[in-house]
Amino acid sequence: MYNYQEFDRAFVRARVDQYRDQVQRRLDGALTEDEFKPLRLMNGVYLQLHAYMLRIAIPYGTLSSPQMRQLAYIADKWDKGYGHFTTRQNIQFNWPRLVDTPEILDALADVDMHAIQTSGNTIRNVTTDQFAGAALDEVADPRPYAELIRQWSTDHPEFQFLPRKFKIAITGAVEDRAVIRAHDIGLQLIEDEGRIAFRVFVGGGLGRTPIIGQELVDRLPAEDLLPYLEAVLSVYNLAGRRDNKYKARIKITVGAMGIESFRARVEEAFQRLRAVFNGQDLAVLGDIQKNFAPPQFVEKSQESYFDALDSDSGFREWVERNVSPHKHPSYASVTISLKGHGDTPGDATSDQMRAIADLAERFGHDELRISHEQNIVLPHVAQADLPAIYRTLKSIGLATANIGLISDIIACPGMDYCALATARSIPIAQDIALRYARLEAEIGRMQIKISGCINACGHHHVGHVGILGLDKAGVENYQITLGGSAGNDAAIGEKMGRGFNVDELMPALDRLIDAYLALRLHEGEIFAETVKRLGTAPFQEALYVVDQAA
């Protein structure tokens, strides 16, 4: 992973000092809240329902064991002993005191971390495939490019006050695990006649106006990445609307302008900017790439692994669900589920964080990833070590074998924490996970994604089943969408009809699942495939059969 240089460290420390002074001036009364709010937000400090919230950047979801231990330390010292991993591969602490936030940022700087640009109308944390650098289906490792974008976009003077926030996702694999077409810019690394290039998508996004990104260019040479991104951003910066925050994202700009006109303006800017970039970006990329060399893989006897597969059904099920193929034949990637049945999706206690850090140190080349599905990944582990990893995870309550199943739910914090939310997400996720715990293997792969408001942090639009919590005349109400997809066939789900109150929601989901089990051709046809084959009509009918009977 990327190792900070002196420049990086000095920059982060300077920002902490600057922020500490800003907090002090706020406490002294020298700054009003209106003056202070944009300053704290630039450092990831929000004010939520019950307390301040600190959002910490985990660049492209990658962190080391010492960094994970430091997050555990922060959770214990300044929060309530846990952290919440987010759909943007970051971590949030829900209970810090404002007066402590400068110290927390100092503690983060001790391990080369920060909270810069985790808020505000800036380029946010670049997200990527949680299996980057390990995945069997990878064309090229996206992390060096993600790091290049991070360095270019951090404190970029032209892009600190964009019309609205800006999210970039990048994948280097055949299968899109980074939901790239639901981002302002989505990048897909491809091989083009023996050279690395990018497919560039633009104008994707969820929120109140969900749109799947359109292809802007089909093969951008990798060496042109930064000037091209700068061209896209500069066109958006000028043309994006600033009069209405709900129409300020680039998806609206692209829609209003039309993709052809937008592409022409980007191309014009690109030609100008390409000449300005003098190759320094490529020199930096070369240095960055040295940080992302594969680990020294070790060959170990796999006897105990195969023995455990034969003798332990729990282990076998966990391997089947939570272990992914690795580009090295005797290695694997492990997804540690943060979705224990009845648990809060994405939450980990400080003890769990430390135990996971120990596992990464002992078995995983000291590397960890956060997935946008709010799980934790050990990207590089020898298959021979899987039984020991499983045993440890089981002992700390993190061996739930449910990746990709109905209980592996993405859920935003919702109204339990978020000041913008219109309904709760977490208890709905907990209820669903508990309700279907025994049936989930039979149901098979099914992605449920829950958002507590129209801003769609829970990605409900691209869930096989999307659940959106709203406030209907002072009562929590949940709208269901079907047919969404976050993968290569990215699609926005279709709204089924009137929303359900809390007591109606679970019976409605029961009917939906019963209908699927009755309608699927065979056990291997997953829910999304059945919906694709039959359309949403039979499922809509199942959801609203009670209305029809009334």
Binding site: R26, L27, G29, T32, E33, L47, Q48, L49, H50, A51, Y52, K80, R97, L98, V99, T344, M415, D416, Y417, R424, I426, P427, Q430, D471, G474, V475, E476
Partner: protein, 103 residues
């Protein structure tokens, strides 16, 4: 948005901690809803809100509808969560309230 209806209380978040607080009859900020001053006249509450909004010790003061029968209770579920704490962990205000009852 529908016009707010009395009775109401004035609520905000504490500047230092972010904790939910309520304006009490003595013009102090209390963490307890039951200590809040309940306004039956909206104009009076709005006048008070204008005065306290600029106070440096709190952030984001606003009016919240309540019922004021045997006890002061929020009328909207959002305010109930602010008053009680999150529903996934027992460590918001509900933990403090519980500890006080136990004591």
């Amino acid at each position: 948005m529908a016009r707010i209806k009395p009775p109401v209380v004035i609520t905000a978040n504490d500047l230092l901690t972010g904790e939910v607080v309520y304006l009490d009859p003595a013009h102090r900020w209390s963490p307890e809803l039951n200590a809040a001053k309940v306004f039956d006249v909206l104009g009076e509450a709005e006048g008070e809100l204008a005065t306290v909004s600029s106070e440096a010790v709190v952030v984001g003061a606003y009016l919240a509808e309540v019922s004021n029968d045997s006890a002061v209770t929020p009328r909207h579920y959002r305010e109930s969560f602010r008053h009680k704490g999150p529903s996934n962990y027992f460590h918001g205000k509900q933990a403090v309230q519980d500890a006080e009852v136990a004591a």
